[in-house]
Symmetry: C2
Subunit: 368 residues, 2 copies
């Protein structure tokens, strides 16, 4: 085990090895050399796997048009898990990729059965947060699924011919008309940029959480089946580990007390941290003697994903912990201070974005 | 049994009574008095049933905007069964209804797995035939499903939320993604005219064959479920009996030898008639003694649906037959002469329509 991977490697690879092996996702470390510049998510294997991202990077190197597509389900409020995707988009944009972001309002309406006007209102917030996080709107497009036009929708319709009920069930278990529509809509999100009408981007990468791979597999199958007819190519994808909530489970919009939201006021966030699951021992004495277990610690995860950019500093934090030189209370105070700074700065930019009205302006609303 | 219904009534009502009773389709004869003027299909109960057509007729009487919507599956060539729908559209247009015709190219592609370019080419022919039959293109719209825009497609997408797998299975038996998409597309065909964007026609009637009622039931359910959200109302519908093929089975594009196509040359059509199933007896002697059975006769059906407009003449033909005063050979020659005239006149107009290029012009093609 290389020293570099220590802070993360302990459980990182183990937890995701099965996914890599079972579904044929390629490990990311093999292609890190193709990246024009570094990013902590790759260095730390937060992004641990990919499909055909090497093809995408080589197209970029050749000077071809490349794009990144992602979708946000605008239910709840964006949190630090959402921000991981913003961070990936920002990085890929910095490489020269065109960014396109779907607000999955059709999916929220159909599958999550949410109120449409509420979903559309929240879509603007997701976009404003992404711009506040650093995505440059001048080289990005944003859209509501239900505001798209003929060619996009036609893809959804035509795709239905070439997938089977069994393939749908493999993704969703029990299917119903809504789930099928949502899945085909997602495939059109991923593939529509390849049409001339939408820019003719033949190299698309989709950054997703590891749990989203079934959608990518479906979309790759659809691309194969429409390669001859519509000239579609398989999308590339990169897979990040899921940021866990402060209780150690998946960070979720539905359990707000264990997630740090981008609009949490710093005091609220600090209180959440105070209650967070750590890798600490039963007693202070024991922790000084045995050291902590950062690979179990939700605070350390925040360092890795968001709060510490510098590799050296991250390593120090790790070493202090495993050597028993720091206890959880003190470590939480360090994290809280970093988080406070992050939130205050982000919220200041968010306010500027909202005041400028740019998110409202670039996100065309559906007519009903 | 009234004398008026004789020519048709023998098997007409019996065959369709079950449909009326089982699914709650209302018999048409109760509301004939609401029609502003007569048409043979109503008089002869070729159109035998309806749902809410009285509501549509009353709206028409009040001077409200009314429309008629139908779809043609452009596989094969239009035949005299297709022409029944043209005839209904022409009549409803004469009452003041706006006519809108869908070319079901998405459905042909998805469910019948046809080649798209071929389907799109044939769509133009279906439209040209409809104009040649007498539909006035100035008060009519024609569209390919795959060339429609955002609001239409959004209906398809949103509809998926409020129907269940079980409802789909009740229509289709085994379902799959394509069948679901085709069914929802058909519902959007029927309901989209109600949106402001498409004219805000709240009173729509759909003329269909008796076998199409499941689609109407589904669409009525969808309208109910979106009444509050999108202001949709139930469509009205009228049901015609199916024109049988010359062998006594359903007239079908897939058995061209038993169908009269609108582009059959008159000699071919005449030969088909010569082989047609009639209600004749085993021998000439027997027929003179017992009379023929016009209710079993595919030639007599052509008289009723297309070849004889005059009620008195139709009654004469019927009486001659049942009284044994005419044999099938002679009767077929009469029918062949009428059919020749119909085809020659129609094909002359069709040629004019094609030459004018109007069908090509008004039918906007999808971009791919």
């Amino acid at each position: 085990m290389s020293a570099k991977l220590d802070p993360w490697g302990h459980y990182a690879i183990e937890d995701y090895r099965k996914l890599l092996e079972e579904f044929g996702i390629s490990p990311i470390d093999k292609i890190l050399g193709l990246l024009p510049h570094k990013h902590k998510y790759f260095e730390r294997l937060v992004i641990f796997g990919h499909r055909d991202f090497d093809i995408w990077l080589e197209a970029l190197k050749r000077g071809e048009k490349v794009a990144v597509l992602t979708g946000f389900m605008p239910s709840g409020r964006p949190h630090l898990g959402t921000a991981m995707v913003y961070e990936e988009l920002k990085f890929l944009q910095s490489l020269g990729a065109h960014v396109k972001i779907a607000i999955a309002d059709a999916e929220a309406y159909i599958v999550r059965r949410e109120d449409r006007s509420e979903v559309i209102r929240r879509g603007v917030e997701f976009v404003a947060h992404s711009i506040a996080w650093g995505i440059n709107p001048d080289n990005a497009e944003f859209y509501y699924q239900t505001a798209m036009d003929n060619e996009y929708y036609r893809l959804i319709q035509l795709f239905s011919r070439k997938i089977t009920t069994a393939e749908m069930e493999a993704i969703y278990g029990d299917i119903n008309p809504g789930k099928i529509m949502a899945a085909l809509t997602q495939s059109a999100d991923i593939l529509h940029l390849q049409l001339d009408k939408y820019g003719g981007y033949k190299y698309i990468v989709v950054p997703v959480g590891a749990d989203q791979d079934p959608h990518l597999r479906l979309t790759r199958d659809i691309a194969d089946r429409f390669e001859q007819e519509l000239g579609l190519k398989r999308p590339s994808s990169i897979y990040h580990k899921l940021l866990r909530g402060l209780d150690g489970n998946k960070m979720s919009k539905s359990r707000p007390e264990y997630a740090i939201h981008l609009d949490d006021d710093p005091e609220t966030a600090e209180k959440k941290l105070a209650n967070a699951l750590t890798g600490g021992r039963a007693t202070a004495e024991e922790q000084r003697r045995l050291g902590g277990e950062p690979w179990k610690c939700s605070i350390f995860e925040l360092y890795v994903y968001h709060l510490i950019d510098d590799e050296k500093e991250l390593k120090e934090r790790y070493d202090e912990c495993v050597n028993g030189k720091i206890l959880c209370g003190q470590c939480k105070r360090i994290a809280a201070e970093k988080l406070r700074k992050l939130l205050i700065e982000h919220q200041k930019r968010f306010k500027e974005v909202i005041t400028s009205g740019i998110a409202e302006k670039i996100l065309k609303k559906p007519s009903f």
